[in-house]
Each structure stands twice: as C-alpha cells, then as structure tokens.
C-alpha cells in the first residue's frame, strides 16, 4: 500500500522505542470482545490503481453526463462555462490539502483568498459584508432564517412557495428541530403576493429570480418587513445580481444564495457553496467563519486572520451562533478564481447572454406548441405549459439527446404538464433551434398517439 510507508524494520524500531512488543499491544485498552482481527471485515478486495480507475470509469460510464446531452435543466444548479484556470488553481495541493487556517502565519494565502471572496460576494449581493461561505444555498437560507428568529425573538418565519422546494424542505427540517413554525406564502402569476400573511414572523424569505425564474418585487418585500418589523431575507442568483439592482440595494437584511454556477462542477449537487451576505450591524450574529485584515503585532506588515471567533462553536459552544465548523473553502476559492477570471465584464456578459438565449428559446418553444405560464419579468429561466405530461415529454426528448428541464408535477400539485426551462450562456442558437424542433416533433407524435406515456 503506497499510502502506508512502514517497512518491517521501521515497525520493529518504532515498537522498540515505544517499548511494546507488537502493534496489537497498543490496542490493549480496547476490550477484547470488541476487537476485529485485521482483514476480517466483509469488504471487497483491495484494487490496484489501474483496476481501481477502471472500476470507477465503469460506474461513471453508466451515468448520462451532461456533456452527452444538451442541458436546459437549471432549478438552482446551472450548466455554465468554467474557465480552465479554476480547476488549475483549486487542484494546487497547497490549497487542496490544507486545513482551516487556524495558524494564520502558515495560511496567509488561503486567508487572503477568503477575504477577496467576502469582498466580491458582498459587492455582488450589494450587502455591507459577506461571510467565508456556508455548506450550500439551502443550509445558508436555513441558517439565515434561524438567525432572524434569535434576533427578533419570534418563533416563526415566512417563506414563499416560489422558493426552491428543496431549500424549503431543508428549512422545514431545521425549523422542526428548533421548534420554529414555517409559514408558506402563496404566489399569483408566478410571484409572491399577500406578504401580510407573514405577520408576526421573524423574517420573510423570497427568492429572486424565484424558482420559476420570475423576478420578485423586492421593494414590496422591504416594505412588508418594515411594516411588521421583520427581517428581509433574499435568496439571490449572483448572475442576476451582476446586472440587476442588487438585493442589498433594496435594503435586504440578509442575502443568501448558491455559488455553484460560478466555477463549481455540478457534481450531482455536491459539494456546493452557500453564499451569505448581510448588513454590517448583524456581523456578531452571523453563522460561519469571517476573515479580517489586520497588522503584525510587532511589525508593519498587513495580514489576514479569522476574526470574530467568539461567535463560533469551539469558543461559545452551546451558545454559538451556529454549529457550523468549516466553511466551504475550496468551492469558495473556485468562486473567487471564477469571479477574478471572468471579472465584471465576464459576469455581466454571462448574465446578458443567458437573458438573450432564454428569450429566444421561449419564442421558439412557443412556436413549437408550448405556452408560457406566467407574465411579468423573468431572468433566464421560465415555466411552460405543454399539452401533455411534462415528464413524458422530458423523457422523450432525453432519448433525442436533450435534457429539457424540470417537470413541476412532483413539486406543485396540478402542474403535471408544466416544465421549468433554464437557458444558460453556453447554449447556442442551433441547440435551441434543435430543442424547439424536437419538441414540436415529440408533441405532434404525442397528440397523434392516444396512448401517451402518462
């Protein structure tokens, strides 16, 4: 085993230094009935590296990777361009194999990248500050909600039904365990209405653009929070923020989101990276790590340290602002390299291309027989109604090499014929045209056959 370097002579010499006769003797404090003989576990046999890679390739080949199909599936995780520079940097062992920067003198490199990450996320979200990142968008949102209940001393939170359903499920789990009630706000024409139903809640959580791709009225969101003294929490998309007036500029108290589309592989949804920005007066209450800039004790140099550490679990224990220990440093680094390489022009260009592609796709899909479900403004994702089951259409298109989007029936009752379609900057006019023509063909054969797969 190349990972364990001990020769028999090493073992003998080390045992002599220790004063033990065998390795087994070192385990003598484990009651004998609880010990397992080496090699006795019922596990598959060890594989050499060549066979191992072969086995993993075999498993990988059984999946339909998204470079084999044309992807119009989004719903919070997006198939976007990733510059080669991102992988080059996050593969560097100095970053990849380091731990949380507890010893700042040995970790200045990572600490500076996190400071830069915080600066860029705060800039994009329009918030005063941002933390060093959370596990993913869903847990970032749940943490924000829980933080609001502590600050407002209220035991319920309100969330729009147009927030990503998986995020809401995670919120439900977190809130159940804390004894917090979750109030769900209804939508009309794809955007959240009747915010007054959130009365008495610690916070109102909207996503904009929301799960359906529609842009929410954040001014009304702010006003509703002001009326009831609750906190405004927005789940935001960094690309929408790159062009649009940012949630922070609308007065959001906390802005959260998913950083995956900025340089992180989709990876079946993990690892992702949760973004968390907020007003500066909330800084002592936020979960997760924060890096600050400071100076040497006895020198003039600037340097970076983890700061406001007394909020955290290792110091404050059960009174900590959260139980989170790590951030999602490597993915945050991917975001930082991405935001640097793409820069202002790149992020805005990606956003604009997505907007153009989405509108072109919508018009072509409408020509092919789909109907747009909502009016109002949208970003780069939209819901269409099909004459037949969206799942059946999705499956038929998949056979033709197109991953058409997300059927909404599993998430919203009575919407079995609706499909959520995302169009990113890397989709071409030709791919969109082919999507439309294949959809037309699937729909015509579906409507001509009576026995469409339901």
């Amino acid at each position: 085993m190349p990972y364990v370097p001990h020769t028999p002579e090493d073992v003998e010499a080390m045992l002599a230094t220790i004063g033990a006769s065998s390795i087994d003797e070192l385990f003598r404090e484990i009651p004998e009935n609880l010990r397992v003989a080496p090699g006795a576990l019922n596990l598959p046999s060890a594989l050499d590296e060549h066979k191992l890679f072969g086995e993993l390739k075999r498993l990988a080949a059984k999946n339909t990777a998204l470079d084999e199909v044309t992807c119009f599936l989004g719903a919070g995780i997006y198939d976007r361009f990733i510059p080669a520079s991102v992988s080059a940097i996050i593969s560097r062992g100095e970053f990849l194999t380091s731990y949380t920067p507890y010893q700042p003198e040995a970790s200045q490199g990572y600490l500076q990248t996190i400071y830069e990450f915080q600066s860029m996320i705060a800039e994009i979200f329009g918030t005063d500050i941002a933390n060093a990142s959370m596990y993913d968008g869903s847990t970032s949102m749940a943490e924000a909600a829980i933080m609001s209940t502590g600050l407002k001393n209220r035991d319920k939170v309100a969330v729009s039904e147009a927030v990503h359903p998986h995020y809401r499920q995670v919120l439900d789990t977190y809130c159940w365990s804390m004894g917090i009630e979750v109030v769900v706000l209804k939508t009309e024409d794809g955007v959240t209405k009747n915010l007054s139903a959130a009365e008495g809640c610690a916070s109102i959580i909207l996503q904009s653009p929301n799960f359906f791709g529609q842009i929410e009225d954040l001014s009304a969101h702010r006003a509703a929070c002001d009326t009831d003294g609750s906190m405004m929490i927005v789940v935001a998309d960094p690309f929408a923020c790159a062009l649009m007036k940012a949630p922070g500029a609308y007065g959001a108290d906390i802005v959260v989101g998913e950083g995956q589309p900025m340089g992180v592989a989709m990876g079946l949804g993990g690892p992702m990276v949760g973004l968390f920005g907020c007003k500066k007066e909330l800084v002592r209450h936020i979960p997760g790590r924060i890096v600050g800039r400071t100076k040497e004790m006895d020198g003039g140099r600037e340097g970076f340290v983890m700061t406001l550490r007394t909020r955290e679990q290792d110091i404050r224990r059960e009174k900590a602002t959260s139980n989170i220990c790590t951030n999602e440093a490597l993915m945050a680094l991917a975001n930082t390299v991405y935001m640097t390489a793409m820069g202002k022009n790149g992020l805005q260009s990606v956003a604009e291309s997505s907007i153009r592609n989405a509108r072109y796709a919508l018009s072509k899909l409408e020509e092919a027989g789909a109907k747009r479900v909502y009016g109002g403004k949208f970003f780069a994702e939209f819901v269409i109604e099909l004459p037949v089951s969206a799942k059946a259409v999705r499956d038929a298109l998949l056979e033709r090499g197109i991953l058409a989007g997300l059927p909404l029936g599993d998430y919203y009752g009575g919407r079995e014929n609706q499909l959520l379609v995302a169009v990113t900057e890397i989709r071409t006019k030709d791919e969109i045209d082919r999507f439309a023509s294949e959809l037309a063909s699937v729909l015509s054969s579906a409507t001509s056959q009576v026995e469409v797969k339901a």
């Binding site: 059984k62 990777a65 560097r92 062992g93 100095e94 200045q108 830069e116 995670v170 700061t307 059960e318």
Partner: protein, 502 residues
C-alpha cells in the same frame, strides 16, 4: 535546520489584493459568445445596477495571483501537518482523477434518477463499506460536514423520542467536558439544553457523575471515542448500557474513527448512531476548511427517521433513491450530499479493501505512540496510558518555569518547516499540544519532527526569545487579532464607495 535564524528573514514583497491589480477593460477568460438576438435589458429584467466592482485582470495575472498565494499556504503536500483531531493524512491523487470523470462531475442533481444508476451504485457502495467498517445497521451520506452529521444524528434521536411520546420530556443532552465545541452547538441547534459531564483523573468518563446526570430528561449522551484525549474509553459498553437503561440514546462523535478502522467497530460498542468525517478518516481533501463530508451510521431503530433521499436496493435488486419515508426527518441538504467527495471516499475504500483496511488504524496508532515515546522526556503526555491515533502532551512546565506557552512552541515549529499541532484543545489539559501524525507519514518524517520539537524545548529554556518572536521565517509574524476585531475590516471597499461613505 540550517536556514534558521532569530532575525527576520528577507521576505518576498507583500501580496497585493487582486482588486489593486484591476484595470478597466481587461478580462481573464475567453468568455462564451452569444448567437441569439440582443434584447433591451431594462425592459427584460427591470432596474439595472449602476456599477459592479469586480477585478478586471488578464488570465496570466489571475493565475499568478492565486499561484503566489498558494505558495504562502501550507498543505499536507507541502509538509508534515500533525494537526490533532483533524487527521491530515495523504489525499491520494487517484481520488482526484476519479472525481473529475465527466460521468460523475458533470451530473445535474435534478436530472432523472434513471440516468444516474452508476452514481447511485457508488453511493450504495460507500454506504455498504462504511456499514461494515462501523458495524451500524445503516448509513446515510446526506450530511454535508461533520457538524452537520452530528446535528442530523441528534435530529434522528429527537424524532425517535417524539415517536415514543417522550419528545417533550427528554430535553437534555449530556456532553463530556473534553468534547469538541460542535457537540454542544449541534445539541443547541436541535433545541436541547446541554449538561457537561466531567472526565476522571485517568482521562475516562466520570461514571459517578454520569450516573447522577442520567434521568428521564436525558435525550442523549454525545461521546467521542477514542476521546479527544486520544484515549480509548474502556468502559464504553457499560456507559452505553447505563444511558440506555435511563431511556437515552448514545451518539458517537466519529472525529477519531481513524484509530478504529478495521480494528474495532463503534456499532458493536453499544452506540445508537455516529457521525463520520470522510474528510478526515477516508482521505477526502480538507480543501482549506471544506468541503467537509459527514456520513452517519445508525442502528435499525433509528432507520424510519432517516433523511431523504434514502439510497437503497429496491425489490428488484436495483439501487433506488427512496423519498416515500413517512417518518423521515426530511431533507438536511438540498440534493445527494457531497457526491464528489463520496467518489473520492469510494476510491479510497476500494484501494485499501478487505486486506489492508486495518492498516489505517494500526499504523496511525503506531505513529502516534512513537511520537509520544520520543517526546515524553521533554513534553510529558497528559495521561500515562497508550494513546490511540493521537497523543496529547502538555507544555505546562515551560509556562511555569520559562514563560513559554504551547502556542509559542507551535509558532516556532513553523520556523522549522512544520505545521503546528492543535493547541489548547481539549480544554481540560493545560498548555495542551495535540499531535496526530496519521498513518501516511514515514518514520524519517516523524524523527525530523520529534528532533525539531526537542530542539524547540531546549530553546525554550536557553533562548526563550526565539520562541516569543516566532515565527520569524513565515510571510508574516504574529498578527494582531485584537486590532482585527476592534477595527473590523472584512472586505475591500472600492474607492468610489469609500468617498461616498459606504
């Protein structure tokens, strides 16, 4: 080491923030072009923002910036990293290669489950191997990190008590005073209050105190085994029995699983559930503090409450993602957990296999005991017992006699080219140095490290200033953490905003 000196070494220039290298109009990537018609943006999406202060730098400057920063960052691949409780072992390169296969990396979590059979098979494979290694009845890979796994375990326990009508009464979680801070913090996250259980003079759980604390209000005991003192809890079966007799559940903090892999199974000890840190024990890279990866193991009585999706075999023997779980606590993360980390863990587990799995615990325990033996004359162990995969030493005499603290020794190690061990944890050992060498280090590396530690202990007596002023060879010296808090500077602010008073 001959390059050492007490004076500051000449250093490379201070790295600048990326923002200061920005120049309007530059771009660092070859950005996708767009082939569809232009649109009026404000008509399409509404109010546009006025500015966006992100860096505008070339691709070469992007690469140089981050390469230079990596060069002032210490990783396992840079050198020995004996950070106790963190299991900084070698992260095999083959894991990185397999995780980058398009058939894993390029999967959308909401693509039809029928299109990811290989991914599900891999997840089930990890679960089955971890089940055998830990001795639990079931495993879920949903939690995203260690603390998240702890929290998920407590949620299972909470749901279990609720299902028995005891949710309202069992509100207390017992946590030893030696525990990681995440334990009480995770308990608080589940609405529990926390009661601390002392450790006895031998480093074991104080059974009398435990007996007194156990009553019908106790939901669970959270126990780290081997403990954070690097010691195996010899009374573990008895402790689990005591808690069970009082109607409570026992959670095992798996931070120290590395000492047990292939040698003993926590599921056999009497625990009801445990969390694992795949980023510690099963070699997924720490990445600078995340992504973590927090599988959990549990006994059959907790299975009904598992978070969704549950990856299991269906009636036809096919692997499925099961969402129809009426008693489930729900989702704890958005999708399938840290999938690409599971790919790495799977690769690692299959590389060791049945034949070599026990090497992990055997050689990590050998290495820790070797370091302990070599250093015992200069830094006495906190307890006079064989340690498991890490040794806990105390520098108390240097503090008393020479004004040198554990932290000073640690900072001096940086000058000798090593990453410091963990300091001041566990909290109950004064001037604590927690050293975890892991199984992947050679005797030669351990000898160099021990030689350095011994030399530093001599310096502590003869030349304490060398330690007070350490590190003298790093990019920066000790930083002013008070200033960092009092003049909080957590983001770069564009000049335009600064003048506007933002």
């Amino acid at each position: 080491m001959n390059h050492l000196s007490n004076g500051r070494m000449k250093r490379v220039p201070e790295p600048e923030l990326i923002f200061t290298k920005s120049k309007k109009g530059r771009v660092g990537a070859n950005i996708p072009t767009c082939s569809t018609p232009a649109v009026d943006l404000s008509e399409a999406i509404g109010d546009l923002r006025e500015d966006l202060h992100l860096p505008e730098v070339s691709e070469l400057d992007t690469i140089r910036h981050f390469t230079n920063l990596s060069q002032i960052n210490y990783g396992i691949e840079t050198g020995f990293y004996p950070l106790g409780s963190c299991t900084m072992k070698y992260n095999p390169k083959i894991n990185e290669a397999t995780a980058r296969l398009a058939g894993f990396a390029n999967l959308h979590p909401m693509q039809p489950v029928e299109t990811i059979p290989g991914a599900l098979e891999l997840l089930l494979g990890v679960q089955e191997m971890l089940q055998e290694i830990t001795g639990f009845d079931n495993i879920t890979l949903q939690p995203l990190a260690g603390a998240h796994g702890e929290m998920t375990c407590l949620m299972l326990i909470k749901a279990y008590h609720e299902s028995r009508g005891e949710g309202e009464t069992r509100k207390v979680v017992l946590v030893p005073d030696s525990a990681h801070g995440t334990n009480p913090a995770s308990a608080a996250r589940c609405g529990y209050s926390v009661k601390s259980i002392p450790t006895d003079a031998n480093g074991n759980t104080d059974l009398e105190a435990l007996e007194k604390a156990l009553d019908s209000n106790v939901a669970a005991l959270m126990l780290t085994n081997p403990s954070t003192l690097g010691l195996f809890e010899p009374n573990i079966e008895k402790i689990c029995r005591m808690v069970h007799e009082a109607g409570g559940q026992v959670f095992c903090d798996g931070a120290n699983m590395n000492a047990m892999v292939g040698t003993t199974r926590p599921g056999d000890h009497g625990f009801d559930c445990m969390h694992l840190n795949l980023h510690k024990t099963f070699s997924t890279p720490h990445g600078g503090g995340g992504p973590g990866c927090g599988a959990i193991g549990l006994q059959a009585h907790l299975e009904p409450f598992l978070p969704v999706p549950v990856i299991r075999r269906g009636s036809e023997g096919e692997v499925m993602a099961d969402y129809s779980r009426h008693h489930s606590i729900g989702r704890v993360s958005a999708f399938y957990g840290q999938f690409l980390m599971e790919v790495r863990a799977f690769t690692y587990l299959r590389a060791y296999g049945k034949e070599k799995m026990a090497d992990i615990s055997r050689y990590s325990v050998l290495n820790a005991n070797y370091v302990r033996a070599r250093l015992k004359d200069v830094l006495p162990p906190a307890h006079d017992r064989p340690c498991m995969h890490e040794c806990i030493l105390t520098a108390e005499k240097y503090k008393k006699e020479h004004g040198i603290r554990a932290l000073d020794i640690s900072k001096r190690l940086i000058d000798y080219g090593f990453h410091p061990p963990t300091n001041y944890f566990p909290l109950i050992v004064p001037e604590c140095l927690m050293i975890e060498p892991t199984e992947t280090e050679t005797k030669e590396t351990l000898d160099m490290f021990c030689d350095a530690m011994i030399a530093i202990c001599h310096e502590a007596i003869e030349n304490p200033d060398a330690l007070h002023h350490a590190p003298s060879t790093a990019m920066v010296g000790r930083l002013d953490e008070t200033l960092a808090v009092k003049q909080l500077d957590v983001r770069w602010i564009p000049a335009a905003k600064e003048t506007a008073g933002v």
